[in-house]
Symmetry: D2
Subunit: 423 residues, 4 copies
């Protein structure tokens, strides 16, 4: 698809309106120096498994034109990136996306302007070829042979990542138990840490290991890395390259995620993010679709915490979407997620931090709320669009995606009955 | 306080900026015919018990200048209404606010432009004079004498309401149980319905009875009117004047309140609202302070459902705040709540319903989300301010409240150690 | 498998110990007249889809020897029933278990002493042959053609049930929405009721329609029949043969299920049960494995409520297990579930209701708790075992299942890599 | 009250029945060596604030005969201890229970056989005399003077404790925030740790500091020590004498508390317990009244984890009840709580740990569940009663309390309208 030219036409048609909106925004708020550059630098990785229609244990209703292999997944992310210029990385999942020819894959990705973000291991499913089952866990397993198999798999994932230029391994463990009594929690914890130590030992010096936590599912009584406290206590035992990864859907009801983010950042143990949204559990809905204010509050903590440590917003944490698109076109959904994340980030950058700190020091709770709400109620879409525009993206990515009938083109090219690997 | 003139000065200083914002908004969205009038008509009742600093079972940290009697409560609501012209009603709570001279009270309220909204009975606390304790419930109580006392109290509350011009009785029952086995659920339900029937029989023909439900607290095992289903089944037994009242904080975690609102409206059984916000339980936080998108989604259902029935937005449901201001100035907090509610209402009015229904009929989930989010991301504060302006209120009520040092004036007049009746 | 003789030997070896336990229990509590007969009459239906290893969206770890067809499913339930004499019914799921030769199937079931409980329709998955997809719902669908297809399917399920001697249709709808805005709640409700009316019209005069509710999953924003209130309001519209079905895992966190059961029973609208247990959501764990006291409290309400209406415990409600056995042998798990349900039922039958009511009328909360806890702390396993013994079942079903290496026999007969239909 | 002789008579009347029960239990299970001694050694501290009727923010319904001062509180705990011989310690709360004459108080306690357990500070309420308010926090407060005041208070509490022979300080902080933006989480955390460091520095060498966590209430947006991870990270910074205290009601919905207990124990950072039960939040209900199986599972982890470290069950952790008795006689309620805790402990001691570990190592999930459930379904009340009997307590404490009309005696002595200090 010759997206380039179409983007030009598309933008041209919308430019006057866009300019008016941006001008108004500038007249309303003081844009901090460098805010546009920050928005332009901020890239959100697309997971390779989010390019197909997701499903639940009750079924899956596939859409058409889903990518059938790694090359087509890269093409899809490339398409997203061409549209929004903010999805400049892809996060692979092994074994769903084993790159048989890494050089060719790197080259293909480079053509789309894509880098390789964190690589993800999978020890929550059994593969046809494997000797030992993960039915009762992987890194926690009572059998040393099973643990060894899971450790080796993670080390292999690192190798794939090195070939592609990744710099981080994300470890999500479904390990846990379904029934009281099933697990010796202590042994499960210790075995997991011991296994992680072996993986950590195989980590290149410039890599990070992100240890994700999750409250429940697919185990329904306990999860061995079940909350931030468990992950934090483990990564502390591993070393400075090990950090905690926060997935927004992996908490118990009502959890204050922004506070967890703040503490982990302060402790130097926040590694990265899996963005999505949820109402009940790990619903994997579009980022910002259920609780947009929470997303803003999380970015408030991120900006504040990273600035306090002099961190580079774009580079010093891993940013990734992890969602499932059961009833939407996956590409449209990803465009919505990225836009929602950018809006939250842009708004967080607009907060008058000096005023906020002053109000806090005065215990002026009303004023604190006013400051945050004023920013949240400000329409910053033009600012985000301007960043896209300056990078060569589309002013309205979804509109363009639809105008160009891109899904129809994909269906024509790939077929109406394709099913991408993933959940 | 001579609020009138100050409002003029205040508005004059902000007018140019305000006009620019409003003009921009008008250039961005098609304002539906009558939207300003709807916003102007929309009045949110202030509960008499929300004018003092609230507390928890762990303590209460009173502020200063709290109203010491019903007259001062009316003055406080009058002050709010002078500022925002959207708080033109007060909801009394008996026995905290027994009007000894109803004529004088009505006259005082009228001077402030205030009407009397629903009156609230209290059978969740024991009063010094009462013969029977509500420790084990009121309308559900095993003792007929206790039930009778509670019924009589409600009928007396109706009488007070009639004298003031109220048109509705709100019944919130804390009745329930703290331990498994304590209560015969069936008998509790039946006794409650029987008691409600007697109260209903005393209802004037132009009155409504609102039956509030609550999942838990102050009873921690069961509540007899515990969810919308329980309230709905009861009001159906009572008759057409009985309806369900929804308090946003009275649900189990993750409840879809907007869906409940939609069903009750459809069934003709939604009576009114207690607005507040919460993260954990009945936290009674400022409306819109935690989940503003949820508030918008609720108003989306309200506007859609009321329009489908040809209802008058302003008059055909009871709108009331029910919040507790533990760490804020209660008046400032109420201004924040009213503003948040108005914003949600204004945004709901801006939704392109034809487009939304078309997208729904096409199962275009992405488009449905785009339509709602586009409105939610639109900055409508100028529209709400314009409604205030046209009514004679302040463009920025909190700013004016602070500029005029109104709290200081109240403290000077009433003292720094006052404690208003309430929770 | 010649289970008969083995049961004899097994029981003989345990008889002395069993008799001692039973004698002690009799010396401790007054066994109400007829309690053993009630326990013997109480049969819990086994769902056809629970005979294989379950899974989650993250994967499925099948066991061996799973039934490959309806005949083998009946054989499995027959085996369970031979062991515990309390699983004398099977609940089929269409289209997973379409009986091509109903006469033969009925005859086979009869040989195992099995009746056919409620039949279950499936409009939450697409079948290869169907014209319209359920991706966006079935009975609520915006398209009349899709609704018609779903209605026809339900009517066909009734026909299959009639052929087998079933007397009830269980309708569980996954219909709902994943995102705010996606659904017009009102239209979805109305369309669902309209569709149900057509199904109801096709119901034989001696049949019941059970309308199940569920808070969430597989839809993650709203479910159209989302709670008991929604189901109750709908079955009231349908007629006397329509009732609500309670699945223990289908509630929001912390819901008081026993109270819901009590109200539905009182209203004459409780139809039946899906037993399982859960810690987080619809975890589908073994009944009684997480919250055994809750299970007891539910049976407390069931016994009390059914007795108040003069209902037959065994026949006037539908009793069924609905669980998923991800990490256990499904047959062993089902034996555990049935045992846990029987224990809860037996304990509920032992409650001194006169004493409990007296304590309630006296507001003696301590005594109420003592009465329930005393029964719950009483070891009634011998009583349940005696019921099994008198019916010809095994004193210790799981022990016998293991001694006889029944799973090994099934694997030998059916293979190690079988996958039963189901979730 | 001459409880001694009455206990003899009471026990004599019940002895034959008791002996028969105990004998049966001995015939059923292998009592591990020393189990009775462990039960006898296990003492649960009674908090001084749990001796009066509790309340909620909606009201408080006091009972009669509540203790009016510290001496009467000690008398009440003495009475409990005389009855069950398992409540041999009292946990004081400063400033509610300042011992003006410590020597006399120690002597009085000694007469009742009572020791002084952990002392509790209170920085969640303002006292009449204090210079700075805790409205916006104490150890986290933005003002150094307020923090200093709170630190000094804690140090003073330690001094009171030293005089009485306590060995631990329990710090529960309500510090947090009610609204997004109110608090700089990072500064709040750091200030809290800094303040705790000063308190820790004042700790005697043989003392422990227990840092309690709580998810929410009385702050409804964030709590600074909000979960075990926050407490754990803080006590790690303080030193070896600082540990985490677990209150069963202080978690988000569905939390797996037993796993938290296991990890903290393993990490050497579990300090002690506040026992209660809850359905919704910090409901402070009687221990074991809602989720008795959870209580058993917690003791399963405690016994296993303490044994793994060679800890003394009775002495190496702090055991305390923290409940609120809104609708029960507080003394009867405490007897119920202690009994429920002892039953859970006794059952945990009966678990065949070798068999359980073997089943775990074999991934025999069914067997693991069988082992735990078999113990939980065993009636161990006679074993707990035997421990009481051997210590000189009553076989049926509540029955004796009622027979002797002890509450009537207390009302006669103290009056019907007393209100004990507490919540």
């Amino acid at each position: 698809m010759s997206t380039k030219m179409n983007i030009s036409n598309h933008n041209e048609a919308l430019l006057a309106q866009h300019t008016r909106r941006l001008d108004f925004l500038k007249s309303e708020v003081n844009l901090p120096a460098g805010i546009l550059q920050k928005l332009k630098d901020f890239q959100i990785a697309i997971p390779s498994w989010a390019l197909g229609t997701g499903g639940t244990r009750f079924g899956r209703f596939s859409g058409g034109g889903e990518p059938r292999n790694l090359e087509e997944k890269i093409a899809d992310v490339g398409l997203l990136h061409a549209l929004n210029q903010s999805s400049g990385a892809i996060s692979l999942h092994i074994p769903w996306d084993i790159p048989t020819d890494p050089t060719a894959i790197r080259s293909l990705a480079a053509q789309h302007g894509l880098a390789f973000d964190a690589v993800n291991s999978n020890t929550f499913q059994d593969q046809a070829v494997q000797a030992h089952s993960y039915k009762f866990g992987s890194l926690q397993h009572v059998s040393a042979a099973t643990r060894k198999q899971a450790i080796d798999h993670n080390i292999e994932v690192i190798k794939h990542g090195v070939e592609l230029g990744s710099k981080a391994l994300t470890v999500w463990l479904s390990d846990g138990s379904c029934f009281p009594g099933q697990l010796n929690f202590r042994h499960a914890y210790e075995r997991t840490v011991d296994s992680l130590r072996e993986i950590y030992a195989a980590l290149p010096a410039d890599w990070s290991l992100y240890l994700e936590y999750k409250a429940y599912e697919p185990n329904f009584y306990s999860t061995t890395v079940g909350d931030w406290g468990a992950s934090y206590s483990m990564v502390n035992k591993l070393g400075p390259q090990a950090k905690t990864l926060v997935d927004l859907g992996h908490h118990l009801p009502n959890a204050n995620i922004e506070q967890i983010v703040s503490i982990l950042l302060m402790e130097g143990k926040l590694g990265g993010f899996h963005f999505n949204d949820s109402k009940y559990g790990d619903d994997d809905l579009t980022a910002g679709s259920i609780k947009p204010y929470q997303l803003f509050l999380i970015f408030n903590e991120l900006v504040d915490g990273m600035d306090a440590k002099g961190m580079n917003h774009a580079k010093d944490l891993g940013w990734m979407i992890d969602a499932s698109h059961n009833v939407k076109d996956p590409l449209e959904d990803l465009l919505q997620s990225v836009e929602a994340i950018q809006i939250a980030y842009a708004q967080a950058l607009l907060i008058d931090r000096a005023a906020l700190e002053a109000a806090r020091e005065a215990n002026d709770v009303v004023r604190c709320q006013e400051i945050l709400q004023a920013v949240f109620r400000t329409d910053v879409r033009a600012l985000v669009a301007q960043a896209r525009l300056e990078l060569g993206g589309a002013l309205d990515p979804i509109a363009l995606f639809r105008q160009e009938k891109m899904r129809d083109q994909l269906i024509k090219a790939r077929g109406a009955k394709t099913v991408a690997t993933g959940l």
